[in-house]
């Protein structure tokens, strides 16, 4: 039952993404100053939002695990971090390709770019840490603490272009600017694609979460098989 629901969601996400691609490529016009390359933004920002969303909930569920000590929250936090990472990388890579055209360089040590890279590295460290701790209780509580620490880097990335002078473009969404900096059709496209990526991340999350539970089962089966 649950599985059918998830596969339906997956199918819906796929159709939604294709529809978004159709609209953004064939219906929306090129941006006046940047040309066609601006469409990268439709994956750059939604990718970051999806990653930040995953990391936020990974920190929240880690805190919930520390309070309740229920395994499922730990599995959720682990799955969320792992799903968030490819979306964070998507954000970085699309940004680099955009920068190659608009700035003429792949990478610049701008505070926002640096902060986003740091954030990805920290979460990669979190995943490595999980693999390095053999004891399940120790792994769950220590990685929960690390997840909470790691989330500060997401806040730092988000705030970095208010705190520092950056080369990175300023926010464009109406909730941050009060409106007027972006064409409504383009803003809608951004929101549509964010939703599509979030749906897709939800499907991945379910798959990854079940794997984490399976891993737990393996661990307990191993102990069991050793005890005879």
């Amino acid at each position: 039952m649950k599985e059918k629901l998830i596969y339906t969601l997956g199918l819906a996400a796929a159709i939604y993404l294709v529809r978004n691609l159709y609209v953004m490529l064939l219906q929306l016009p090129d941006e006046a100053a940047q040309g066609p390359i601006y469409r990268i933004f439709y994956f750059h920002l939604p990718g970051y939002f999806t990653a930040a969303f995953c990391f936020l909930f990974s920190a929240i569920f880690s805190a919930v695990y520390l309070v309740t000590k229920k395994w499922k929250w730990d599995s959720m936090a682990a799955a969320l971090t792992e799903i968030g990472l490819p979306f964070a990388i998507m954000n970085l890579v699309t940004g680099m390709i955009w920068g190659r055209i608009i700035w003429g360089i792949w990478w610049t040590w701008d505070p926002r770019l640096t902060a986003a890279l740091i954030s990805a590295l920290i979460y990669a460290g979190y995943l490595m840490l999980r693999n390095a701790i053999p004891d399940p209780t120790e792994r769950a509580k220590n990685s929960a603490v690390v997840a909470i620490f790691a989330f500060t880097s997401v806040i730092f990335t988000y705030k970095s272009n208010e705190w520092f002078r950056t080369q990175h473009p300023a926010p464009v969404l109406t909730i941050r600017t009060g409106g007027g900096t972006i064409d409504p059709a383009m803003e809608w496209m951004l929101l549509h694609n964010t939703l599509a990526l979030l749906m897709f991340a939800g499907v991945l999350l379910f798959v990854r979460w079940r794997m984490e539970e399976q891993r737990r089962e393996i661990e307990s089966l191993r102990r069991e098989s050793l005890s005879y």
């Binding site: 920290i122 460290g125 979190y126 840490l129 701790i133 004891d135 603490v145 790691a150 500060t152 520092f164």
Partner: protein
Amino acid sequence: MIRHALVIASKDLRSELRTKESLNSALSLTIVLLLLFSFAFDPASEDVKQWAGGLLWLVYSFAAILIITRGFARELSNDCLEALRASPVPGSALFLGKAFASFLILLGVELISLPVFGIFYNVNPASKPLPLIAALVLATWGVTVIGTVFGAVTVNLHLRELMLPVLIYPMMIPALMAAIELTSASINQVEPEMIWYRLLIGFNIIFTALSVALVDIVLVD
């Protein structure tokens, strides 16, 4: 709690001063690194003032890893960590004491190697004392807090020495960034931007508070 923390700190400092194990190794590492970097970057060049601050903090961050790894690992032999966990000292006091001891040791190493750096690279890092002192005190505290709390997280791992740098270097970049800017300002005799002071202070407050709040969970089951 403060009293407990001071007891732990003085215990760590005393044992450090008797053996001088991390002090000596960190000091010789900083000198060797300063020497090595002089091959990579020409100390006689015109723009030495541009990168000298960054180089100094790179060296310090390596020294910090050496000292911080010792912080909790020191207690592993003879099951001292278990004894400390069983003692009435709360985990947060244990953490603060260890962090304070590491802070003083690291600060000592930094102060001793600072003139060596000045001589080797022909710059005066103390041209403007205020940003330099702020960088030394605040960034060193920030770095030790991050290092000590992640040291507690990784203390029981076989891969401790491998995992610790992977986790803490990215975490402490904001503090290092601010320290580099402040030190460069001092070397170049310019007034640094306020944002770097604020970044350091904010970093220290947030991570000290988070660490004190969460370290009990890590140390005590």
